[in-house]
Symmetry: C2
Subunit: 249 residues, 2 copies
């Protein structure tokens, strides 16, 4: 593997502050909104639908601007990073891997992330590119900035439908991260097991993964759990229809 | 109305601390567990299934005891109450209404709640009774302690399947509270609209409700929103099969 590309939310950054801030803005407890987000996303709906459950017809973009205008805009700092991010990314770069951060987020999130001066060669968000995951155009941009062939580029994310499936469809190698609600919720779904080249519980496991060759019949990933459970060692073979996953586990 | 009976979680008490404490115990961010709780409950599964997504095979009762033994047991204090609880309950009692708190919770939760000295005539939890909502036996106990006939007793809760439907089946009058994730998630579900005698957004609205007669054709609830949207004024008429709601909105 030559390049590793990581998503942002729940891959590098805990989503807690983001949703707690919305909850505070809407005057509901954080647990209420977080649970609504989980309910919506688990049904294949957009996470922002949780906001519209609380405020039917809400214009999320407009509310985002109103929050910012009220001095309660988006924030992101070191404390939002999962603690393994900085050491794992540093170790990957030390191993000669190109590290790219590319995930869904606002222009401001991109600015805040770059201000953290992560050990990364490129940090970019969907709003900066003008296209969001899971749009195939997003992953075409990932391929463009990778600096390596798709087969030598590993995309790491927690969400099956936003990260894993479209990244695999773009020809990238994939690692599914069991982290955050969606990473955990669908970790054992057959489509995830059947699609992901690697399945990891934390970023340091990626150091072992990229040091070796992608999991292929006969090949053994290093520290990460191989993405097959049928005992055949086959990875990335027949993949079930992915839309089935959106209909609920 | 002579007696009002209120649930505990998300009716009187915010569930935030409860789930954040479990998240902390399991080493995941609060948003992660809260979203998993929402995903599980929205699919008709038990909230504790969220814990087992994170720790497959987890024995929740055993983990509860381990937490307590580690000095990180269940806690509940004034800050966990929704701010309208104390004034609304006081106003209800001042209006001559008997106020009962009866919801799912541990023995310790009952002790902590009683220590808050709420304006209530009785405070009791499911573990103290040895039976949990939505078991009909729980609502039989509610009828026993009401001090009034079921038709003169109003049960108030946020969860359609745990509160509203079994309370109505027990012959109680019902108010659905649009609060907490489930209160919001299913607020407009036809089964909720068709079953609830009243639908309220906050506890002070109950003062108007109990001061009048239960919503019947021709009757007008006071401050609460009437539980019908077909313009006929009919309440509690034909009720759709309730199990359908468990299959998802």
């Amino acid at each position: 593997m030559e390049t590793i590309v990581l998503g942002i939310g729940e891959t590098l950054v805990r989503d807690d502050r983001h949703w707690a801030s919305w909850a505070n803005w809407l005057g509901v407890p954080a647990h209420t909104l977080s649970a609504l987000v989980g309910a919506a996303v688990a049904q294949g709906r957009d996470a922002t639908d949780a906001l519209r459950v609380l405020r039917p017809g809400m214009d999320v973009d407009e509310a985002y601007l109103a929050r910012a205008a009220a001095g309660r805009g988006e924030h992101l700092d070191e404390s939002d990073l999962y603690p393994d991010v900085r050491p794992a990314l540093a170790e990957l770069r030390a191993a000669g891997i190109r590290v790219v951060v590319a995930g869904n987020g606002t222009v401001r999130a991109g600015e805040r992330l770059r201000a953290l001066d992560l050990p990364a060669d490129l940090v970019v968000t969907s709003d900066e590119w003008g296209v969001r995951k899971p749009d195939p155009a997003f992953f075409a941009r990932v391929v463009e900035v990778s600096g390596a062939k798709p087969g030598a580029t590993l995309y790491v994310g927690d969400h099956p439908a936003d990260d894993l499936f479209p990244a695999a469809a773009a020809g990238l190698r994939t690692a599914h991260l069991r982290r955050g609600p969606y990473g955990h919720w669908w970790a054992e779904h057959p489509d995830v097991v059947g699609t992901a080249d690697f399945r990891v519980n934390a970023l340091p496991e990626l150091v072992g993964v990229v040091g070796g060759s992608p999991a292929r019949p006969g090949a053994e990933p290093h520290s990460a759990r191989p993405a097959f459970e049928d005992g055949t060692g086959a990875v990335g073979g027949a993949r079930p229809a992915r839309v089935s996953y959106l209909r609920g586990l």
